[in-house]
């Protein structure tokens, strides 16, 4: 299973995935899509770590990916609980609906 992919290509893939996630984060107003975009961005960062770890044949890149995975799981569970709460209060998923404080 010896392959020789140039490391730059792995990093470019990570950059493209991150940029797509960023574009989605900026262009969507629906909270579900915003969370999906954040997942894409975290995944892109993980690709960069795994590529760098495999470049030097060290396990550290994969370990950082495991930490990213745990962070993403924690983030998504909290964010989805907040989203359900938000939807019950505002009956919409528009992120702009949360821009005002009801003091």
């Amino acid at each position: 299973m010896m392959s020789s992919i140039p490391m730059g290509h792995g990093l470019i893939l990570a950059g493209i995935l991150f940029a797509l996630g960023l574009a989605g984060l900026l262009m969507r107003r629906n909270l579900v899509f915003i969370l999906i975009s954040i997942e894409i961005m975290l995944n892109g960062a993980g690709v960069a770590f795994v590529a760098a770890g495999s470049r030097w044949s060290q396990p550290d890149g994969q370990i950082v990916f495991l930490f990213i995975l745990a962070t993403a799981a924690a983030e998504v569970s909290i964010a989805l609980a907040l989203l359900v709460r938000f939807y019950h209060q505002h009956s919409t998923l528009d992120a702009d609906a949360a821009s005002g404080m009801r003091g």
């Binding site: 140039p6 574009a23 044949s57 909290i78």
Partner: protein, 173 residues
């Protein structure tokens, strides 16, 4: 064999990019989630071809298995209909997305330029198996494992706190 793995990397990379593009532009949340699953599976193939089999398996099990299923359950709970799709079409129409796309494209172009300008920085050719990862994870990174367990406990407590039935509206408001 070598060229086959390289070809698998590039094909999976193209699949990942295309399915991610489709995922961020869909109008219905479930369609976006299905494209997200395709993207994550393609990235898992990329991990395998980059010599990280453990992470490839975890990508399928945790990302495509657990996290996306969480999304699907929430989307099912919210029960969005055709009305939500029409509103989504209205939100995405016109030049709303062009600014975001141009800014992201500029940043991506800069990143790619810097990576290409660095020239040849070696190739990904080693395979790091699960055994090496496990030895390092429970050796020098043990404190990280403990911190992650606390983070997940915090997420559990937070999600269960936020997921309670909504309190009764008080008349004072």
């Amino acid at each position: 064999m070598t060229s086959l793995m390289e070809a698998a990397f590039y094909v999976a990379a193209v699949v990942a990019i295309v399915s991610t593009m489709l995922a961020i532009t869909r109008l219905v949340a479930v369609h976006a989630l299905l494209y997200l699953i395709v993207s994550l599976l393609a990235v898992a193939v990329d991990f395998y071809t980059m010599g990280a089999p453990l992470v490839a398996a975890l990508e399928v099990i945790v990302y495509a298995g657990a996290i996306v299923v969480l999304f699907v359950f929430v989307v099912m709970m919210l029960n969005l209909g055709a009305q939500a799709r029409d509103r989504e079409r209205q939100w995405l129409s016109g030049k709303i997305w062009i600014g975001a796309a141009i800014l992201s494209a500029i940043l991506l172009a800069e990143v790619i330029y810097l990576i290409v300008r660095a020239g040849n920085v070696g190739s990904i050719s080693g395979v790091v198996g699960p055994k090496q990862v496990a030895i390092a994870l429970y050796g020098p990174y043990l404190i990280g494992v403990e911190l992650v367990s606390m983070l997940l406990l915090g997420a559990l407590v937070g999600a269960s706190h936020l997921g309670r039935p909504a309190p009764k509206k008080t008349e004072a408001r």
